[in-house]
Symmetry: C2
Subunit: 695 residues, 2 copies
């Protein structure tokens, strides 16, 4: 439990100093400036007093108990300081000093040493190479951090690996007029982990949203579980840096961590219910709103403008980001027509006109609150010099207090109307400078409403003969199991497959319906059709026999299977891959060489819900090809959904499968199902450990 880290009663600062340009000085100054409610003990070998506080030569000389030891001394001295903290009974050390694992070699050794010392005494380590933590709760008011932005209480908590980025988030939240609840910038995160911090912030009732900056992910299954739990109640917002290869290289030299491929990030975030943002500014703009506004019930936004052009911009951005323009009820329109000035335009967006006064804004907000077709409200206003804008601001603030729907304001004005803006912000209404920014924030809120629904969905089950599948998998000698065995596994999960028989020696199997297909079945041959390992359209036994003889010569020692040739249809691909340290990822895409070249696929983590499977199908660009087009009937999308759920069930039941490709699967028109034509299953090798929780 991190309670003591964020609610310490006493802090000792090792390396406390009277030198203004030192971290040890800054840290004590910050604790004092923010009126830390606990006791502060500067530790300095020589100085008797630091910044007016009595200093001690060693933490061991402090007469009272110490909760946290903040360490800002030379890196080589850090292990000894940790040892001292251990002896003193300190609960947490926050190590600001750099020069550890991020430097490799000696630094890594030093980090191991300090961790060992900490472990010996049960001291938890925060950092090293970190900025520190803060908690703006007025009961604690702890600024255990060497950075420079003042702390302003708010209801968004900040969790960032990089100190610079944590600072950036805090700085700009504050510039917007908001603040934070808790703040953690972790640096090397050698002991106290992102997941622990996330869990702690998630359990804090005063935190309404958490903004994260992620460079690298550890313990991903735990991260996902934690996010899914928190996300039902609080919006989790994240940016992930190191997306490009160039940046990934720099991340590795920044924190010494390994990068996961960025495409996985989206898949993980989707499953975890984390909202990913493209830019820091968009993320904190959304956080500013989540911190004070309720979550909208749906995507229907009403826009209120007193200038046409910005209102139109807002429509573009709202609709372009997935919102719908709410359809105003007849009652709303009648009330507005009666109460607004004649020049007003009573449709959504409502143009109250530049000359609209306070009462017109108030009336409009009240009407929209009452209109069941409206989920959220966006005001985009200028401050016309011929209107009493102060009164407009007050009217918005007062009416907003009675709203149960989220309200976001864009006020396009200058410093002369600063107090109008402050009046609106003072009522807890987020205010932005640009119509696009406000629109995107409302869209983000609606997106979170959607995520909450997704998190409540139940994993879908599918029937499957788990015992049989396990037996087949266990019985297979190599890493890849044979085609026929793989088809048996699929059949056990009620997945429709093309009838496939192993060829034994020269004898042809009986009872096959011709034409048939002959395929080589060998681990060594991955792209069979590229190397002449597939013969289609063999119309009778003689042809099969002849081609078999030729192929056997071409692939000496290989096995072969014969398959009934399936009718043509739309080809798709479904895959399953167990990503190390992450979990099972299901892939879906259109088949065929073309779409393979275009990389148009969608990914989801197992287990899938019914709705998740449906979204996964809708997630490819080439969806129109499945929906029917000029003479081609719609494909059996319901059958694809069933197939995805079955694969999800296999991912849950059979951790021994590390990779599976169903490629191609032929999908027939609506109601006519599908057939798996080729399958490749790779199973866990003996040496690899199977972790059930990594599903």
């Amino acid at each position: 439990m991190l309670n003591t880290l964020f609610r310490p009663r006493s802090i000792a600062v090792m390396g406390a100093s009277n030198n203004t340009f030192s971290i040890g000085n800054r840290v004590v100054k910050n604790l004092l400036a923010h009126e830390f409610k606990g006791r502060i003990y500067p530790i300095n070998l020589k100085e008797p007093e630091i910044l007016g506080l009595r200093a001690y030569p060693s933490i061991l000389d402090v007469p009272e108990p110490v909760d946290i030891g903040m360490i800002a001394v030379k890196s080589t001295l850090v292990p000894q300081m940790v040892e001292d903290c251990g002896k003193k009974g300190v609960k947490f050390v926050i190590i600001h000093t750099a020069g550890f694992r991020e430097m490799g070699g000696e630094g890594a050794k030093l980090e191991d040493q300090l961790l060992e010392n900490a472990k010996k005494y049960g001291v938890r380590v925060y950092g090293p190479n970190c900025q520190g933590i803060m908690n703006s709760d007025p009961e604690v008011s702890v600024y255990a951090n060497f950075t420079f932005t003042p702390m302003r209480p708010g209801r968004a908590s900040i969790l960032a690996q990089s100190g610079g980025v944590a600072e950036l988030l805090n700085l700009n939240l504050r510039k917007m007029g908001s603040g934070f609840r808790m703040y953690a910038s972790q640096g090397n995160a050698s002991d106290v982990s992102t997941n622990e911090l996330l869990d702690f912030m998630g359990n804090d009732p005063e935190t309404r949203t958490i903004i994260m900056h992620i460079e690298s992910m550890k313990d991903t299954p735990e991260f996902i579980e934690c996010c899914r739990r928190i996300g039902r109640d609080k919006a989790l917002l994240a940016i992930r840096t190191g997306r490009t290869t160039a940046a990934a290289k720099a991340v590795s030299s920044h924190t010494g961590s390994m990068m996961q491929e960025d495409s996985l990030t989206d898949t993980i975030f989707e499953h975890a219910g984390v909202m990913r943002f493209d830019t820091t500014e968009e993320m904190i703009s959304a956080a500013y709103a989540f911190a004070s506004q309720p979550v909208p019930a749906g995507p229907n936004v009403a826009i209120v403008a007193n200038a046409g052009g910005p209102g139109i911009m807002a429509i573009d951005e709202c609709v372009g980001n997935g919102l719908k323009l709410a359809k105003l009820s007849e009652e709303t329109k009648a009330r507005l027509r009666a109460g607004l000035i004649p020049e007003a335009y009573v449709e959504n967006p409502i143009d109250v006109a530049a000359t609209a006064r306070a009462e017109h804004f108030a009336l409009t907000l009240s009407c929209l609150e009452d209109d069941p077709g409206v989920d959220s409200i966006l005001i985009t206003m200028v401050t016309p010099p011929f209107v009493d804008c102060e009164a407009v601001g007050r009217a918005i603030a007062e009416t907003a207090a009675k709203l149960t729907k989220p309200l976001v304001c864009v006020v396009m004005t200058n410093e002369n109307w600063a107090s109008t803006v402050e009046t609106i912000k003072g009522a807890g209404i987020p205010v932005f400078d640009f119509p696009e920014a406000g629109s995107r924030v409302v869209a983000a809120m609606a997106r979170y409403a959607e995520i909450r629904k997704h998190l409540a969905e139940q994993p879908a089950g599918a029937p499957g003969n788990k015992a049989k599948a396990q037996k087949i998998l266990a019985g297979a000698p190599g890493e890849f199991i044979s085609q026929t065995a793989a088809f048996d596994v699929l059949s056990g999960y009620e997945i429709p497959v093309a009838r496939t028989v192993k060829l034994s020696g020269e004898r042809l199997p009986r009872g096959l319906k011709y034409p048939v297909v002959l395929k080589v079945d060998s681990e060594a041959v991955v792209h069979k059709s590229d190397v002449g390992g597939v013969a289609l359209n063999l119309a009778r036994p003689a042809a099969l026999k002849k081609v078999h003889a030729e192929m056997a010569a071409h692939f000496p020692g290989a096995d072969f299977v014969v398959q009934e040739q399936c009718a043509q249809g739309t080809e798709i691909i479904v895959g399953l891959k167990r990503e190390p340290g992450v979990g099972a990822v299901i892939m879906f895409g259109m088949g065929g060489i073309h779409v393979e070249a275009m990389k148009d696929v969608s990914f989801r983590m197992a287990p899938l819900s019914q709705e998740g499977a449906a979204r996964m199908i809708r997630g490819i660009r080439s969806l129109p090809l499945l929906q029917g087009f000029r003479g081609i009937p719609p494909a059996d999308i319901a059958a694809i959904q069933r197939l995805l759920i079955s694969v999800s069930q296999m991912a849950v039941d059979l951790p021994e499968i590390v990779e599976m490709d169903l490629n191609p699967v032929i999908v027939y028109p609506e109601g006519q199902g599908l057939k798996v034509v080729d399958v490749r299953i790779r199973k866990q090798q003996q040496a690899q450990q199977i972790q059930a929780q990594s599903v």
Copy 2:
């Protein structure tokens, strides 16, 4: 010429008033507050004095000449005011009053009336329903506008249809620390047009960049020509609103104008060399930089950071937006290693480390200036409390004065370091809050460098028998010309076509190589293959004869053509369409039903340059399908390029062609060319006028 509009010597204000909440009051106040260098004559029937100035009952009573009449009276009185202005010899009227064409019906009539009055006297009309103009040139200092944001001189000019958006642009440019040169918010733009204003701003030597907000486009060919001329020297930045259907509907009620389809906007902007932005904020951020910084020579950016995380963000955004990380020379690295502190990381991005001082920043900038591999420099810095950041700011400002390369700064700080930020901004260096914002600005500058190159490209010519084509087109009876005639036109432009012969009566043509294809050739049948109008693979004359008889029964009265069946290859589509009021647009995409459903096509306006044609080919998502993939050889992309150039030549030579589809064109492997298999040409009807300049 608009010189008098932006450099008036005297202004009369009709509707001038002492009532603070009136436009007529505000306008006089604005002229006074900004110390207009000319004379101001308030016009008011009753008041002898307005805001300390002598007022006149009518403009006709003003004893001296008047350049501009600003009109802010009731809409029904406006035509009379215009008449008075005409009598007085006024050059321009700026009409603020609303209630004209944007209201339809009576309003439109009133607008016609005032325009007629103006025309009678040669008065030019700006507006109506408009905010007005400004010119910050200190010699003029004219704020002929009723809005509220103070005027700050700068080198970006603002051209916006919507008053609210013009305000938004000005407001936020100013918040960033920049200003504007000229400002025009046009409203209904009944007489003085966007193109005239653009041309005027383009000719102003003090304007370095023009930011535009466009809701609807008029006189597009002239707009394009004007932009192409200005764009070689000044960056043209634009946002276009009304992208979504919902917004388009609102635009139409906002200004009463018709919308062009939004996809055309991108094509027009591309040809015009206008940079389109997604958000207002990104556009004015770029304008802020263009106004003071040189244009980079290329895409190679060097990033300088004193905090790791934000530096990594900058890489992501730079690379993600088309920039390249500059490769530092060995000399640069050696100089930096010798001069920076040991913790510094001497690669791009250069991490000078949090403790870097003024001299380290100065050295780094100097080294990057000297490094020929660097085109632009981006600094992302925090302001560590243990560093003399004021000195860092001064060092950046001083070194920047010697730079010939563009420099953009991101300073992540708070109000305590406001003077550091001011020092940097004071040197004309644009400063942003977010690494993403700074990165996108540098990317926009590199994009403009690219656009300048495009604008210098020459239209590519292609050989063509124009006279023969014109004769064929003139001779065709209907709107669509026959297949064989169309193929003749193509052949005249040396476009390879499949050999195609018209079937006359029952007699089969001689000398054809079988197999052949039989096709119906009729205006009424557009998707021939969907309705059984195409028979492939007819191996001999008998088969052709039989199928012909069947088809003739199915399509009574239709013509038929026989075509040698072409070998298989990759199918593409090329189209030409003369967009009314815009010009000739060429379309290119992959063929086949699949890609048709996916709408993966690229558009360019004619005439094409060689490079433009190449970019057009690279502009489709499915480009990989042409580049060769797993056993499929690369297609003859050079032949496609030749084809596009020929089509461009046809667009120039043959304005009578309003639409042409080459669908499909079969492309063979590299060096083996292509063949047009089907063509559809629609020509101008008699009633339509052909305008040569609309190419």
